[in-house]
């Protein structure tokens, strides 16, 4: 049964919600364990869909295909890692409540629905389930001032983005008379052949769809919320917001753009090109000026989204698979990046500034080495994994046949050098500066999660073949 992962996760989340009512604060770890278990079980159930034929369910509302299955596997794995990073952190900060895990599960469910949605309605439902869970999680630390402020911004901006998206969908519905993805695609081609003047209306809809997607991705110029939210949210929530949801948004973008509006490909390609270049340039340049590590990671994330768009805008199967590879690797790197901050914090101490990392190498060489892997991977230095998706998107854009593709690639790589500068600043603080960074005393699971994240940078970097092949296979047909 192709929909089993979603159904199971829904049932599990509801069951855990009830169980959690009867669990005392001191036994909250039980909720954590159950949440992890249900993520793992969903992951396993999802594995059964690998390699299965594409199936469309519920009158075309829901689809299970290769892309959805692979994205789900990626999101669930990332979510499990995020929860591993979270437990100790929220425990120390006394908001170790069941809701945290339950909201995370509902967010996961929302993401699964998003990438499998096959009509505007299901996609939007998934998106809202995800977003509402995230708003609540950002605000979860009620006693701090930053958290609720960030949640407020996130909520207002998110609502605006949803509005834009719905407006675009309604435009397209107005032209084609359908909200089902394949029908819209077919009708659009038909209508454009009969009435070429309707292209303007479709393009108009596409503009709003792209704007909505760009908001959710945090691409320039729709990026203003990103640094504030990542900065203000509890760090473990920042790790969540910045990682798995981006994978889901990629799934949504694939459904809404190439699968729905291929007939106005050239128009949204141009929009994405602008977003891409602005994100790469402004993201990288702004990150240089940050001294707060969470804000730096936020801007670096914006730049990464720019590189990711380089694949998406290519408009070829190879470009889509490159973008998919990029977003999966980015999600992992982003969790690892915020994980760096999480291992640095302890009860009563929030790691905020890059200066907090000074001298870490002397006392915790293992953590320092892992952090170097993560930073160098983000900078795109081979053989760490961050290099390969950059290579793939550049290959995609050079091979796309777009005019000026060479210059797009050249700008992208030149700004990667700017990017290297601020990642190196962190490495410099860790290895070269004298400082007071203490010996890290992290909980066992946090340490394990961090080592997994750090080592995966190297291992996946040395053997990117399997993941690349999986991504390529999705778009091969």
């Amino acid at each position: 049964m192709p929909m089993l992962p979603e159904l199971f996760l829904l049932a599990a989340a509801c069951a855990i919600l009830l169980i959690d009512l009867y669990v005392g604060d001191e036994k909250r770890t039980l909720t954590y364990g159950l949440a992890q278990l249900s993520l793992v079980a969903t992951f396993v159930l999802n594995l059964q869909n690998f390699g299965a034929a594409r199936e469309v369910l519920y009158h075309g509302m829901f689809v299970v295909d290769g892309m959805a299955t692979l994205l789900k596997a990626g999101m669930l794995a990332v979510m499990a890692l995020v929860l591993m990073f979270s437990r100790d952190y929220i425990n120390q900060r006394s908001f170790h409540r069941g809701e945290y895990y339950i909201l995370a599960l509902f967010a996961s469910l929302g993401m699964l629905v998003m990438v499998s949605g096959y009509s505007f309605l299901t996609i939007y439902l998934g998106l809202e389930l995800l977003s509402l869970s995230l708003y609540a999680m950002v605000a979860m630390r009620r006693d701090s001032t930053d958290g609720p402020e960030a949640a407020m911004k996130y909520f207002v901006m998110g609502a605006l983005a949803s509005g834009l998206l719905l407006y675009g969908m309604s435009m397209i519905y107005g032209v084609t008379g359908s909200i089902q993805i394949t029908e819209v695609q077919a009708k659009a081609v038909e209508i454009l052949a009969a009435h070429p003047d309707k292209a303007a209306l479709l393009t108009f809809g596409a503009i709003f769809l792209v704007a909505g997607i760009a908001f959710k991705l945090g691409a320039v110029p729709f990026h203003m919320w990103v640094p504030d939210v990542y900065h203000g949210a509890p760090t473990s929530v920042s790790a969540l917001v910045s990682s798995a949801p981006k994978i889901a948004v990629f799934g949504m973008a694939m459904r809404l753009l190439p699968e729905t509006l291929n007939s106005v490909l050239a128009q949204w390609q141009l929009l994405l090109t602008i977003l891409c270049m602005l994100s790469i340039v402004i993201g990288n340049v702004s990150a240089v000026a940050q001294s707060n590590i969470k804000r730096m990671l936020a801007f670096s994330g914006i730049a990464h989204i720019g590189y990711f768009l380089l694949g998406l805008l290519s408009g070829t199967a190879q470009g889509y698979s490159a973008a998919m590879f990029y977003i999966l690797v980015y999600a992992l790197m982003s969790v690892a990046g915020f994980g760096m901050i999480l291992v640095m914090t302890r009860a009563g101490f929030e790691c905020e500034s890059i200066d907090d990392f000074k001298g870490l190498w002397k006392r915790s060489p293992w953590h320092a080495l892992m952090m170097m892997f993560i930073m160098m991977s983000m900078a795109g230095v081979p053989p760490l994994v961050g290099f390969w998706p950059k290579l793939e998107v550049i290959r995609a854009v050079l091979d796309s046949g777009l005019p000026h593709a060479v210059w797009l690639a050249a700008i992208a790589v030149l700004f990667a050098v700017v990017g290297a500068w601020y990642y190196l600043r962190v490495v410099k603080a860790i290895f070269f500066d004298e400082g007071e960074a203490p010996e890290l005393q992290t909980a066992g699971d946090l340490r394990l999660a961090f080592s997994i994240a750090g080592l995966s940078m190297l291992v996946l970097g040395l053997m990117p073949g399997p993941l690349l092949a999986l991504c390529a296979a999705v778009f091969a047909s």
Binding site: M372, V381, P382, R395, A410, A416
Partner: protein, 510 residues
């Protein structure tokens, strides 16, 4: 052995990890001995590499090939092989590593095991750069190598080390990213990342010029050529002695090796077209940087500038080949000279940096003004230093003479003024080296610290003696080296640098 090259790459890397996680900081003595053992074993592997090398062919030898990654329809292969250009450089790298391990023996006080591990890992990566025959594999090694070097300068370097190492990293990174675009472009065009396939890839003049520029930036930064040389004096001065030695002896050679492997054969027409500019930049390096070296007060900086000037000879030797069309013997001579210069500079600059290191360990100063009359307290050292200074100035009989002489002779055939300007370096080179030598070693004993200097200990004596033997051997019998390189040089001149634009490409080469 069929996988000799793999061993040369992975043995030092595995050894470095063993030092890092095995013996580690708890037992530094064991870490040092283990590192020395690994370095010697790696160097030992070069003996069968050299003796088993077939000097009659320009083809790749010790070839290894395995699929690594598939990108759509292009494969990235773990493909290794060496020809007459790469093999001596691998031997030089492995040789230098032994010296570096020995040089750091007592001097490095903090985190010895991390220091040794970083150098061992870097040795493997540098061997990988020279052995890779797949462009993407080459690029991976090329970039990866930056990380250990970045840490070595940044952690164990001098007072201004952070500035120097960031500059080093960013300069090199900036240079190489455009190369990546060029490599991907050609990979798509030819459907393969094999360097040999890129040699044969037909390219129009427009793309050739852009690709040439992309490669040129990557390699010119590394050589370094005027005007992108400014990172080198900083990096050299701040790096620990071992770091300076590896930078000068090996890393600079990667730039010129890149010219040989990529620029000349892949973009021969653009190379010919732009040869004038490169020759001009080389001559500026030789003359102007030679004059800059003259006024340095810091010994390491002086040697760094002298390195830039000497590397100018190498690029000069490569690019005058385009001015010697029809004079193949002279073109070959220029090439051979440049190649010999690469190896000899590896020995001489390494030796000079080690000499400065010997003094720095005792006095904690690199300033020429702080010394004077060192010969009185350190006679053995003064003798070695003399030999290396003479070699740096290009004294006949030493390694420094052979390469420069060959390049100058070839340059004469191309253009009198090239040769004239290049010969100026014989004067400036002698001036800055010997003047430094005079101020440091001769004269009155400058202060009581100098008077109390202990002479070389056994370890230092051994290092310098080995280098002295190599310098003299290469100076007196360069044929051992040129024989190895000869077929590759002939192949490059006969095929590699021939135009790709002509429609008739079915020659002996293809």
């Amino acid at each position: 052995m069929t996988n000799l090259l793999s061993l040369l790459i992975w043995l030092p890397i595995a050894g470095g990890l063993a030092v890092l996680f095995g013996t580690g900081e708890r037992n530094t003595a064991a870490s040092k001995w283990l590192s020395l053992g690994i370095a010697l074993a790696t160097f030992g592997l070069c003996i069968p590499l050299w003796t088993g090398f077939d000097t009659t062919t320009a083809a790749m030898q010790y070839v290894e090939h395995a699929n690594w990654i598939r990108l759509g329809n292009i494969e990235i292969n773990y493909a290794l092989g060496v020809d007459g250009f790469a093999m001596p450089l691998i031997a030089l790298t492995s040789f230098t590593t032994v010296l570096v391990v020995l040089a750091g023996w007592e001097v490095i006080e903090k985190r010895v095991s991390h220091y040794m591990a970083a150098f061992l890992v870097m040795t493997g990566l540098m061997n990988g750069v020279f052995a890779a025959t797949d462009a993407m594999l080459f690029y991976v090694f090329w970039e990866f190598m930056l990380i250990p070097m970045f840490l070595i300068i940044g952690i164990w370097g001098g007072p201004n080390r952070v500035y120097a190492t960031l500059k080093f990293f960013l300069y090199t990174f900036l240079g190489s990213v455009l190369m990546l675009v060029a490599l991907i472009y050609m990979g798509i065009k030819g459907g393969s990342f094999a360097i040999e396939a890129m040699h044969k890839l037909p390219l129009e003049m427009g793309p050739q010029t852009l690709i040439f520029i992309a490669f040129f930036l990557a390699f010119a930064v590394k050589v370094p050529m005027f005007p992108v040389h400014t990172w080198l004096p900083d990096a050299h001065v701040e790096a620990p002695t071992g770091g300076s030695v590896v930078l000068a002896a090996i890393m600079l050679k990667m730039g010129t090796y890149g010219f040989l492997r990529f620029n000349l054969p892949i973009t021969p027409d653009a190379s010919a077209d732009l040869a004038n500019i490169i020759i001009a930049l080389s001559l500026i390096a030789v003359v102007y940087i030679g004059l800059v070296a003259l006024v340095q007060k810091d010994m390491k900086k002086l040697i760094a500038y002298s390195s830039i000037a000497h590397m100018g000879f190498v690029t000069l030797g490569f690019f005058i080949v385009f001015k010697l069309v029809g004079a193949n013997t002279h073109a070959a001579l220029g090439f051979q000279g440049a190649l010999v210069q690469m190896i000899s500079h590896g020995f001489v600059s390494a030796a000079l940096f080690l000499c400065v290191g010997v003094m720095y360990d005792r006095m904690h100063s690199r300033m020429i003004g702080d010394y004077g009359g060192v010969a009185n307290s350190m006679p053995k050292f003064a003798a070695f230093f003399m030999l290396f200074a003479m070699a740096n100035a290009g004294l006949p009989g030493t390694a420094g003479f052979v390469g420069e002489f060959m390049v100058i002779v070839a340059a004469f055939k191309a253009n009198f003024w090239y040769a004239f300007l290049a010969s100026v370096s014989l004067i400036t080179g002698a001036a800055y080296t010997l003047w430094m030598y005079k101020r440091v070693v001769f004269g009155e004993v400058a202060n009581k610290h100098v008077a109390e200097l202990p002479d070389l200990n056994k370890r230092e004596f051994l290092i310098l003696a080995v280098l002295a033997v190599m310098t003299l051997a290469l100076g007196l019998y360069p044929k051992a080296l040129t024989t190895v390189m000869e077929p590759s040089v002939q192949h490059l001149i006969g095929c590699g640098v021939q135009s790709k634009l002509q429609t008739v490409v079915e020659g002996v080469c293809r």
